[in-house]
């Protein structure tokens, strides 16, 4: 399982989303999910199971696979909900699912 955070430059916003996804996965006790970040230009279809982007890139990543659009990339509450939804949709077990 691989999640990829993507932004235009590949080192600012996407890096932060990458860090925050790591944090959420740790909270949830989920292991085995590979998280990385990249710039839009270097992402190809199939690079990740799910791509996380800010709302401004929502229209740019349509062809790259399954996409999760974040309204704010520093809103941990939003990210928790969306990461959990994504994991659930993929059938990944969430050890701390009830607590978090």
């Amino acid at each position: 399982m691989k999640f990829l955070a993507v932004c235009s430059s590949g080192l600012g916003s996407s890096f932060m989303v990458h860090m925050n996804i790591d944090k959420v996965l740790k909270e949830l006790g989920v292991t085995g999910v590979d998280v990385d970040h990249a710039d839009l230009g270097s992402v190809a279809r199939g690079d990740a199971d799910t791509i996380f982007v800010g709302s401004d890139l929502a229209d740019s990543v349509g062809g790259l696979g399954e996409v999760v659009v974040l309204d704010s990339i520093i809103d941990m509450a939003e990210l928790r909900v969306k990461v959990r939804e994504t994991l659930a949709a993929k059938g990944v077990e969430i050890p701390a699912g009830d607590a978090a």
Partner: protein, 151 residues
């Protein structure tokens, strides 16, 4: 660490900012003055925003102005500019910004700790609110200090 970069010299406040281009120019100025970036980096940030790059709007009225290392980064640097009133990024009413942070990273993968610290600071509801409420460089730096000692 974040407080190696955000200092009384790089934490700015302004109440007379003339639009988003002026905000980018001003937040970048300490990094330009210290030689951390070249003028090309400022142009690159401005151009990418003008081209629709409101992706630098992180939410909560905070924008992370940045471009790629090869566009004029000499040494890693971070600066901030709190504006009052809010400035519309790219003149777009959907993107009012209260706090501009300028990030110049010398390479895409280095400085993980610093960017992680910044992400932690901005993603924490309480710390973010304190950061936006700060009215002096000392106020901002004490929030950063609290963030740094929290983990």
């Amino acid at each position: 660490m974040l407080n190696d970069y955000l200092t009384p010299q790089t934490v700015l406040f302004a109440s007379d900012v003339d639009g988003w281009r002026d905000a980018i120019d001003r937040v970048a100025r300490p990094l330009l003055d210290s030689g951390s970036i070249t003028p090309a980096y400022v142009t690159a940030m401005t151009d990418s925003i003008a081209a629709g790059g409101t992706y630098i709007d992180l939410g909560f009225g905070i924008a992370l102005a940045h471009s790629r290392p090869e566009n004029g980064v000499v040494a890693t640097g971070i600066s901030s500019l709190r504006v009052e009133p809010a400035v519309l990024l790219n003149d777009d009413p959907a993107h009012p910004i209260d706090l501009f942070i300028c990030l110049a990273a010398v390479d895409p993968t280095g400085h993980i700790e610093t960017i992680s610290e910044l992400a932690t600071l901005l993603s924490d509801d309480e710390l973010r609110a304190s950061l936006l409420a700060a009215t002096t460089p000392d106020g901002v730096l004490s929030v950063i200090q609290r963030n740094g000692t929290q983990e």
